[in-house]
């Protein structure tokens, strides 16, 4: 009973946020709507007793990643409503429509084709004993999925180094620029 109410409220929050992300005209409003969706998902995690994932969801996604989005939006000064007709790729609209309809169809097919969504397997993030939440997650992350984990962190390091290299000022400047 309580679970159902929590699920419905959180689902409404998620979907409203998700719709808001694409419908809001102002990029900053879109980013805020994304935060709302992430909060809804965090609530879903809590109702599945995956407390740690919920906390990480808020700390990492809402707290760091969307803040970076906002940072970029504010620094680039694109934080006003823009006319989307100007400068858009001509095929983009149709491609977006095709992908949207395609993924909707796929989701619908999955809902219809799977008659019993309950697998009966215990969740990895949500624990039976609530204190063991972090321990179980760490165990699976550092034993079964250790290579995937390390490769992901390697990927992030490469991305950071790439960003630093790209962001560095060029050492040699053109003569007319050097005087500034």
């Amino acid at each position: 009973m309580v679970d159902t109410i929590v699920f419905l409220v959180a689902a409404v929050i998620c979907l409203t946020g998700a719709l808001g992300v694409i419908l809001a005209r102002n990029p900053v409003h879109s980013a805020l709507m994304l935060v709302m969706t992430l909060f809804g998902i965090a609530v879903q995690f809590v109702s599945q007793e995956a407390h740690f994932l919920a906390a990480v969801q808020v700390i990492v996604y809402a707290g760091a990643i969307v803040v970076l989005f906002l940072f970029v939006i504010m620094l680039l000064g694109v934080d006003t409503a823009q006319n989307l007709e100007i400068g858009a790729l001509p095929a983009q609209k149709w491609a977006a429509l095709c992908f949207g309809v395609g993924s909707l169809a796929l989701t619908g097919y999955i809902i219809l084709a799977v008659d019993n969504p309950v697998t009966g397997r215990p969740g990895m993030g949500g624990a039976i004993d609530e204190t063991a939440n972090v321990r179980l997650l760490a165990r699976s992350l550092f034993s079964n999925y250790v290579y995937a984990f390390e490769l992901t962190s390697l990927l992030l390091v490469i991305a950071v180094i790439g960003a630093v290299v790209l962001a560095r000022k060029p050492v040699k400047q053109l003569p007319e620029e050097a005087g500034r």
Binding site: F52, A62, A64, V67, F71, E130, R168
Partner: protein, 399 residues
Amino acid sequence: MTGDPLFHDGVDLVDIGIMGLKVVVAFGFLLVATMFMVWFERKLISDMQNRIGPNVAGPWGLLQTFADGVKFFFKEDLRPENADPLVFRLAPYISAVTAFLSFAIVPVGGVFKDVPGTTGTVNIFGRETFLQVADPPIGILLLLAMSSIAVYGIMLAGWSSGSKYPLIGSVRASAQAISYEAALGMSVVAVVILAGTLSTHDIVAHQAGGINTWFLVTSGVIPFIVFLIAATAELNRPPFDLVEAEQELVGGFHTEYSSIRFALFFLAEFMNVITMSAIMVTLFFGGPAGPIFFGLTWFWPTIWFMSKVMVFLFIFVWFRATLPRLRYDQLMDLGWKVLIPLSLFWLMFISLKELRASNDWNWIATYAAAAGGLLLGGTLLITALRAGDRAYQKDSEDA
């Protein structure tokens, strides 16, 4: 069973009543504490600067903050023409709500005995309960989550004002908060590894055996120092208050705010100071731990907790009165090149120590390996920093 014993045998109306009482008491306590914190800060700074400070409203100027608060209510509420109406109104509430929520996990009292995890309860209306608003399984992570959401309050306030100085202030603030959150988080993790739990109640229960069991001692002072510096930066307190550097940015992110909205930012800022002090006491200084003398036994831990928090409030004011503001590049250097490597190294050292203890490794070999790793990592880091400095100097000479 973990968590608050109040909910162990189902939830009835009395439980809900106790919960409501706790929330109201915590809310009222924070508001009143904020009021006196503002007075305390002004009075202490004026003492340190050989001034008198507020002394007209009430005895020793005690009612000055109350008078200021009432004045805020009656001021006109301005909104700049360029402001984004919705976000402009939302931002102060984000700041205030996150500031209130993070205090919920602080255990403010209860007698903790030497046995971890079993005590620290008090009896209210015939029910056993913890003296903290909430003891969620994620415990201390709620603080990190709330402090990362609090960034939105500052960032959106600056952006939605539709004005230049607030925007610069808020961009500075968010960059600063993101940089220092890493160091803050890692010093929290050091404590979590030692305690083996995220719950603040259990963290406090682990420190109940006297000063030598406090995590200040067992984690070896460094996580505490890193936490103190990073917390000061997270709070945008001096010497890290570049966010509202008056000489450069007028008032920073809240330049365009007036009336009660400004008061909400102010409230959030001072409440966060109190919460951070309380968290430091919880993580490193045993929370409400202390000797119990006579009379009411449940009374003493709360007294000890309050006195420890007072010491940190004093330290924060002391910082403000004595330290000059850092330059922005110094701020970033301190965060990324000193605090993060230091706390990372100390975190690995503590993990190694714990692993050695639980697996019974040879301690000479373990510490020799640790020293080798430190030497290698330190050399690599210093080489990298030197190379970075050289490249920076070369760039600025060429330009």
